[in-house]
């Protein structure tokens, strides 16, 4: 296992910049998730680390070794391909044993290791099948077995769950995490699903148009998104456009001073529906909260709580989740922790 460091990676395809000054670091045995919408450069980043992309600029290190110019077959970095890339003319056994044979292990040890990997991934007994005789989930596991059986220094996973049914996706997510921790694999995990990323990662990097917008723990990314794009991507549901005036932005009675922008400029106020505490009208806010009033205009029952649509002014509506029950047209006070409201 090794630490991966990438510094200032740049890659242009014509005028498209697939990687634009990307730097990341994955500590030994940790799992870094890269999330971003389709086309943001995630696969290109993985392929660069695997050695399949010739970089225009930047260096990649494994521990202290500069591997930027090392050819892919000499890196000992295993990549899991988004569409599995199992070899259709080989049996499952031969697929998994391929890397071991190249490393010239004795036959008996190859047998043992293949069996170990298949049992680890819970797919014993498929040795003699061809890939096209397997279900999608089985193919996914075989591809994973093939990648880890060679004991790579780094594991790269390109959207490993994207081709699976929603049902098994959740289960395999936990299994991958358990496997990664058990084998202490330094792992780079690419996905476009923010929930998947938050649940599995030690650290998250949010990517957009070839840049890393923010890097941090899942908690940091979730609670303190550094930009509107990140906030939107991690699922913040109240994004309210306002104009700056008197040195700040206003939503109902809530006033937030803004330093970076001057009067007349556009700004957005951002907070989660889950972060709102709904109370009867006239309730005092805690010292660390903002409070503002509104009228309930919509109500959805969601099992453990209600989701309300609340009109704060003529034009502005916000969404709030609360276990407390209110009726339509009730006047309420919305309280939000000051450090959970962001202005961009």
């Amino acid at each position: 296992m090794a630490t991966v460091t990438a510094e200032g990676l740049k890659k242009f395809y014509g005028s498209v910049s697939a990687l634009n000054d990307v730097s990341i670091k994955i500590d030994e045995g940790k799992l870094l998730t890269v999330i971003g919408p389709s086309g943001s450069g995630k696969t290109t980043l993985l392929r660069a680390i695997a050695g399949f992309v010739k970089l225009d600029e930047g260096r990649i290190y494994l521990d202290d070794e500069d591997i930027t110019d090392v050819s892919p077959e000499k890196r000992n970095i295993s990549m899991f391909f988004q569409n599995y890339a199992l070899w259709p003319h080989m049996t499952v056994y031969d697929n998994v044993a391929y890397g071991l044979k190249l490393r010239k292990y004795p036959k008996k040890e190859i047998d043992e290791r293949v069996r170990w990997a298949l049992s680890l991934l819970d797919v014993e007994g498929l040795e003699d099948r061809k890939p096209n005789q397997l279900s999608g989930g089985q193919q996914q596991r075989i591809a994973l077995a093939r990648a880890i059986v060679v004991e790579p220094r780094v594991l790269l996973l390109d959207e490993p769950l994207s081709n699976l049914d929603a049902k098994i996706r959740l289960r395999i997510r936990f299994e991958i995490k358990a496997l990664q921790q058990k084998l202490k694999l330094t792992t780079l995990y690419v996905t476009h699903d923010q929930e998947e990323a938050l649940s599995i990662a030690d650290e998250i990097a949010v990517m957009h148009e070839g840049r890393i917008l923010q890097m941090g723990t899942p908690q940091e990314i979730y609670t303190r998104p550094s930009s509107l794009f990140v906030a939107d991507f991690v699922g913040i549901n109240n994004v309210i456009g306002v104009a700056v005036s008197n040195g700040g932005v206003r939503l109902g009675e809530m006033f937030i001073p803004v330093e970076k922008k001057s009067d007349g400029q556009e700004a957005v106020i951002v907070f989660r529906a889950d972060e709102v505490r709904l109370a009867k009208e006239g309730t005092d806010a805690e010292p660390d909260e903002y409070a503002f009033g509104g009228v309930i205009t919509g109500k959805l029952y969601m099992g453990s709580r209600y989701r309300y649509e609340i009109a704060v002014s003529d034009k502005t509506k916000v969404i709030a989740n609360s276990p407390r029950e209110f009726a339509l047209n009730d006047r309420v006070t919305l309280c939000v922790k000051r450090d959970r409201v962001f202005v961009y």
Binding site: P72, E73, Y84, A85, L86, W87, P88, Y98, L102, N132
Partner: protein, 269 residues
Amino acid sequence: MKKHRVALWLLKVAAVCFILFVIIGPLIGVVLWSFAIKWYWPHIIPQVMGVRYWMDVFHRGRVLDSILLSLEIASIVVVLSLVIAAPAAYGFSRYKLPLEKFLLVIFLMPQAFPQLPIFINIAAVFARHSLTGNMWGIIFVHTMASLVFSVWIITATFRSIPEELEQAALNLGASRFKTFFTITLPLAIPGLIASAIFVFLWSMGEFTGAFFIGAPYIQTAPVMMYTAAMGYNMQTASVVALILMIPSIAFMIIIEKYLKAEYIGGLGG
């Protein structure tokens, strides 16, 4: 409703009969001719039948020799065309080569112009280098001309193999060389076989080039057949035609067996 179905059924039967007639009809004629000893118009079947011409073909050296010669030429042409086309096709499919268009056009050349003047010209050039009247001149011409099919077929085959299958091998530590021989080539076998069959059958049946470059010293089977038919020796021509069908039928069986849809279908992963 029922009438409808009967009409449809009749139509189907008629269609099948027509197809059988078009395909089998001439074939029956050829088979009859190969066994005919005496067959004058307006008799529908030969008056006297026998295996004399079949015996002749296998006993009299010239006919059998020309068939063997054709087989030999076709086999060598297949090997040469694969050896030349496979690397070229791999290059076309995987790398942005400079002059790619130009090179592809060169491969197209031999088929792009009317064949007759080309072969006459080639024959004249070959005569100066003592390549006429022997097998190697024909092999050379057949190989050049067949590269059109083989390069295109094999390029398409390599293109259909996802690059990621190769990258997965590199990723696990295989050299480019090893990757080609353990991943790419085995996956391309259906295309290579298809190309080989195509080239083989084409070479077996090619007349013009073999005629101008080989005749009169050596005769491939098609040339032999032509001369026999021109001499109103329909029997010998028919026997040779039937014998020449054997490789075609053999290849059809091979295709059935090895180019199963599931094998090709598996390529997508």
